[in-house]
């Protein structure tokens, strides 16, 4: 359990660093955009909302930085992230709560699919080194060199403008009310196809390549030779002996590259106007809506840390040496 404890401790420190960065940025960087917003909104802000923006963005010059920091944590713990300027007068926390499920659904599912698919293809490509599978590598390299958002643009132009097969934007058909009905769920799935495939196509290559290279290395190990010599079926040697060991770096890499993948997925949401966090962030940029942008950053960081912890538990199950006590 020490392994998990160490990791959990690390994630707590990371979370603290992210929150502190969020606290410091508006105070360190020049300019006072939030003050400008407050002036603009003038009388439309009630005193509570004003007070919380003052705490979050350090506009109260009479307090020391330490007092501000303590107040900041106080607000966060209560789930108070300030008011969104874009969706005025909705609190940022409410905007995030609405868009979070969309991002979790789209990005979560596609990331897992891309990881499984890429790892499986990588296992075969590494096992059958020198076969036609090697030609996959340059193709996937090219695909992964394309920015996520550009692939999304191409997908829209081909499959919803030239051949109108799938909708180009949104999370569900405009007339529908979110509910548990066949029609609504069907519409959600239909709208998720293009953004989903975009994310999978551009993120799968990394997994294929990493897994292939590890498989090539592992296949040369003595224990694989022994397993073969024992007369085990090739399939069993490939999966239970070679792949099981080769997958470990992929899983620890999964944790570390998640932040990067999520960034790309947010862009896909922007291009498809998908009602998740990425699109909310995009709208926030246009309006210079700092409370909203910072809220998105915190929520995404939190989600990535939780996903990392899950990946660690997976690692623990696959690699017995991490389970050793002490």
């Amino acid at each position: 359990m020490t392994f998990l404890l160490r990791r959990a401790l690390f994630y707590l420190v990371t979370l603290w660093a992210a929150i502190t960065a969020n606290f410091l940025l508006p105070r360190l960087l020049p300019g006072d955009p939030v003050q400008a917003m407050i002036t603009k909104l003038g009388g439309r802000l009630n005193s509570d909302a004003m007070a919380s923006l003052y705490v979050l963005f350090g506009l109260d010059r009479n307090k020391s930085i330490w007092e501000q920091y303590v107040d900041y944590w106080g607000s966060l713990v209560q789930g108070d992230l300030g008011l969104s300027f874009t969706f005025f007068p909705t609190p940022v926390a409410d905007v995030l709560a609405q868009s979070m499920p969309w991002t979790l659904g789209l990005v979560g599912v596609t990331t897992v699919i891309a990881f499984l698919l890429g790892t499986l293809l990588g296992v075969y490509a590494g096992w059958k080194r020198g076969s036609w599978m090697d030609n996959l590598i340059p193709i996937t390299t090219f695909l992964s060199s394309i920015p996520y958002f550009w692939l999304g643009l191409i997908a829209i132009s081909l499959f919803s403008v030239t051949w109108p097969l799938f909708p180009a934007s949104g999370g569900y058909a405009p007339g529908l009310v979110p509910e548990f009905s066949g029609e609504f769920i069907g519409s959600v799935l239909e709208h998720a196809v293009l953004p989903g495939i975009t994310i999978i196509v551009s993120s799968v290559a990394g997994w294929i390549l990493g897994m292939r290279n590890m498989m090539v290395t592992v296949t040369a190990e003595d224990y694989v030779l022994v397993a073969r010599a024992k007369g085990l079926t090739p399939k069993r040697v490939m999966f239970a002996y070679a792949a099981r060991n080769a997958v470990l770096p992929s899983i620890s890499g999964f944790a570390l590259s998640l932040g990067f993948i999520v960034g790309g997925a947010l862009l896909v949401e922007m291009v498809f106007s998908y009602p998740g966090l990425g699109y909310v962030l995009f709208q926030g940029i246009g309006a210079k809506d700092y409370p909203l942008m910072q809220g998105v950053f915190l929520v995404i960081t939190l989600a990535v840390l939780v996903a990392n912890l899950l990946a660690d538990i997976g690692y623990l199950l696959l690699d017995p040496s991490t389970r050793r006590e002490g």
Binding site: T14, F142, I146, P147, L153, G259, G264, L267, Y290, M293
Partner: protein, 272 residues
Amino acid sequence: MNFKTKLGLGILAFFALIAVVGEWIAPYDPSAMSDDLLSPPSGAHWFGTTMTGQDIFSQVLVGTRGVMVVGLVCGVLATFLSILVGVTAGFLGGAADEALSMLSNIFLVIPALPLIIIVASMLPSADTVLIAAVISLTAWAWGARILRAQTMSLRRRDFVEAARASGERTWRIIVFEVLPNLLAVIGSGFVGTVIFAVMLQITLSFVGVISLSTWNWGTILFWAQSNQALGLGAWWWFVPAGLCIALLGTALALINFGIDEYANPRLRKVRA
């Protein structure tokens, strides 16, 4: 050097050349408007024109410099940081290693894109070099992690022990004994960072947080997206810039494969 590596170097050299001469060979002023509104590729406008009649071919040519400069500056800065942190951590070990590893892991785990978007949009003037510096601050951690692991495996080798026994100072051992053995790793880290920086810069321009007054490939895509080029069927507006990004990215990835195969012979192609 195999064919893949040569191809990668060739494409890279081509873009480097364009970065230098692009401004002189561009047939039009990239920002100048004309009467050819939204026309598809033709003899006069190789990549067609935008909604306001700007020549897209000229925009791509002129925009290459911004992309290459950010890539290069970030590559150098971030590689320097990663050597500083990674090699120090790996060589010293102990508490210094714990602290530095934790620092680089924190930078790896925190999602860089939303953070950079916030920083870039808070900066009053987001010029190219400043953006490059901000990107470098998030781009060094991956290289540092790999360098640390590699340095740790070198630390106890005989030649390092010999240098230590003969009374060499620590910084001298690091620079003259350890670093030369890390060149392949540093090289591939550098190339990887350049890819990351180029993508990030283009993304930031596309999203609209970087100043749009200087041209780069992301700016072209920003204007294409905000003027509904997709709905208008103006494919020529966003295809060339995207293909350039993909080509440059592929070229850098191919160079990296070359370095990897040089360092790890097992990855080389075998004849089945």
